[in-house]
Symmetry: C2
Subunit: 194 residues, 2 copies
């Protein structure tokens, strides 16, 4: 996705070696027109996949999931990161390890919002170690739902998440793939023409 | 906003006397087409207010803020609920009391995303006691920004938030105002024709 690629090159900042900071347009401040185009690109890539519902995770997946959901015209469900007061009889839960925060947290989705046989598109802003997406896949499986694939805004190919998910047979569509952040330079994989 | 009103009456559920559960289309599962229409309605109400930026708060304000931001074509900034590792030299912070969880939490916004003189529209999904919106107003004031008003998806008029904000001179535009949830019945205020 060329407009996103150019934006990452223009406004992305590299911190501490392999952290890409995109908080000026992705995950603290959001550019809504870009988010809408990102949603449309996810639609273009998965429009033949008969998506019933989009599953994402709070916080920064929501904007892109809602914009995708607009184009698909399907409901968007976001997994919550706080266990809250819900009982496990009411929610599906999965444990997710955060490498950034070096701690485990529980994500949950109300059982009423996922149904057996539903075809889910998972959306998230970043794919690095794949923990959040794996947690959503776990929850989808508990619900008996199918997974059409994962739409990712930015994938870091030098971390193992993409490989792990693809080796599980998950169709992963990343709009921008970062191959390296070495030497304070953002190297983005050239997209194959489709 | 008639479509929203009908949806609240159809899918809203009353819990424990004065909690309105709208998690099937507002704050756990989201209807993206409705969210887009809500964003458009905020635009219609504030389009002459020369909005520079939208300020909301994670999690459930984000969808509606992004949809509004699409129509205004301005950036959306969401306040974060975790203090994280940021130093106060980098962020504006405010304390917010949650009546639901009976605890105080800190919200923060990076200083780089709010500027003196900017005209902000605050967006949130619910207005009950007004704590979250008041925290955002506090942060906007620290940044020297102006507040054009607050766009609220659902206001509960029997809790004091709306009155508090209006008495401060804040223009509050609530798309649906709930006057009562007594006797397990949702009473929505009739909108004045504009």
């Amino acid at each position: 996705m060329e407009s996103l690629k150019q934006r990452v090159l223009k406004d992305g900042r590299i911190l501490d070696g392999n952290i890409l900071k995109v908080d000026s347009f992705i995950n603290h401040q959001i550019d809504p027109r870009l988010a809408f185009d990102i949603g449309k690109e996810f639609y273009n890539r998965f429009k033949n996949a008969e998506i019933d519902k989009i599953l994402t995770i709070e916080t920064s997946g929501i904007a892109f999931a809602v914009c995708a959901g607009y184009h698909f015209n399907v409901p968007v469900v976001f997994a919550k990161k706080r266990a809250g007061l819900n009982m496990s009889s009411e929610v599906y839960q999965s444990k997710v390890y955060s490498y950034t925060k070096q701690t485990c947290y529980t994500i949950s989705v109300s059982r009423q919002f996922l149904s057996p046989g539903e075809n889910l598109l998972i959306i998230d802003d970043f794919l690095a170690n794949g923990q959040a997406v794996s947690g959503m896949i776990d929850i989808a499986k508990q619900a008996g739902a199918k997974i059409a694939g994962a739409g990712i805004v930015i994938e870091k190919s030098f971390q193992p998440g993409g490989e792990i998910l693809r080796s599980l047979g998950i169709r992963v569509e990343s709009l921008v793939i970062i191959d390296s952040l070495k030497n304070n330079k953002i190297i983005i994989r050239e997209a194959l023409e489709k």
